[in-house]
Symmetry: C2
Subunit: 255 residues, 2 copies
């Protein structure tokens, strides 16, 4: 089995190292990861500058680009064969609720899925004292399960793991993407020594809506959250309900 590993915390993160070390016990592992932290890089793709690859060791490369670049370059350029699975992580911190759309880690799994490879992202919900060995072990179990059963086409898994020893994990839960409650005062304004204003995004910690079966709820219960996400963002309900707009818009242009 060939597994391609990436992340958004950069190649020097202990999370990706724990992940690669553990997966090596069951597969040929290639690590292609950003040369530095690229958190919140989302699904950004580098189109306007050339990408450089640096070899770090056996099957280990860093790229001066985003997580999405790494997967694209890995599958389309570097690897001699298509990997069986793409695993992205282990992210330092959770990727829950609406935050998945900002996440470089989740986007790497998105890119793998786009390119036809079953993919999942693993994030470790903590701010310090990361028990990465728990997430790494869980990634291994999932890789084996995916190897055996594959994944529905166009679907990736967003996995979040609570910061517990594996014996204290309360179980696994297939979940839905939760919803953050946004803070009205999320911008922090400051003044620099030269009297000029500047701004920080994301000043305070936010809460989330108490939705049944959400990723947030599973983590709060000490469970591993596995959310299947889709590439197709179409809201099919609205495709139907907005059909009536076609004729009013057509009228505006004389049709």
């Amino acid at each position: 089995m060939v597994i391609l590993v990436s992340n958004d915390d950069g190649i020097h993160s202990p999370g990706i190292q724990a992940l690669a070390d553990t997966l090596r016990t069951i597969a040929d592992v290639y690590v292609i990861a950003p040369d530095r932290e690229r958190s919140a890089a989302s699904h950004a793709l580098t189109l306007h500058k050339p990408l450089r690859l640096e070899k770090f060791g056996d099957n280990m490369y860093s790229v001066n680009g985003t997580p999405t670049d790494c997967i694209n370059l890995g599958i389309n350029g570097i690897l001699n064969e298509k990997p069986d699975i793409v695993v992205s992580g282990i992210n330092k911190g959770g990727n829950l609720g609406d935050d998945v759309t900002y996440s470089g880690t989740v986007s790497a799994a998105f890119e793998g899925t786009l390119l036809g490879v079953p993919s999942f992202a693993v994030s470790h919900v903590a701010e310090s004292d990361f028990k990465f060995e728990t997430s790494a072990r869980i990634a291994l179990y999932l890789a084996l399960l995916i190897k055996e059963n594959s994944l529905p086409p166009g679907v990736l898994l967003n996995v979040n793991v609570p910061n517990l020893d594996i014996k204290d994990i309360k179980g696994f839960k297939i979940t839905r993407q939760g919803k953050r409650i946004y803070d009205e005062n999320a911008i922090v304004e400051k003044v620099d020594p030269r009297g000029k204003k500047y701004y920080w995004i994301g000043g305070s910690r936010l809460s989330w809506e108490k939705t049944e079966d959400s990723d947030f709820a599973a983590i709060e219960e000490g469970m591993v959250s596995i959310t299947p996400l889709r590439l197709d963002l179409t809201e099919y309900g609205a495709v139907k309900s907005l059909r009536i707009w076609e004729s009013s818009l057509n009228k505006k242009i004389g049709i």
Copy 2:
């Protein structure tokens, strides 16, 4: 009516200027846009550096960040009131099929929707000789329609306009997100004057699957494509089908 406008081509793009000028005939328009091109920035959010705002004129600001930063900063920090609508564009080039997930333009509308404001992105499908006045006019019609009817919560519109005079537009179509056929040779490898390799992503133009009602198909027919997209990326079908994984994973950790 207050409209917040952004884009990913940067504040100096003629696309955003045409859009703002046209929308000004029906609303108070605020332009908050990246200070330079940020194509394929996706839903990236700047967390690790401070953001600077530069005033360019009445209600017009540039930010040294991504389209998502601009909307976040605009709604949470700069504007005195919540805008009625967020419009992102006019993008130089289409945002069709899976490309929407890479797009900074679409992500700005995503961010507006996340923050509770009805939002849409407008992209002009051309590579040169952009007839932006067509897209601007269509954005105006849509803004009026949204003001009147609002949008379902959690749903944004991804609008793509063919490069035609408005009288030659064949009509409006509510569509679904199409699917690219990916090129196996999408990476271009080059060697620099010092003998070191480098890579470009996205070497060649790609085709798309002939799906009925897709955004690609509408554009090919000379129609304006309007795709409703959702914030919730959960694949609910797979939430059900993957439930059986819970027990096999639980067994692995002795539950």
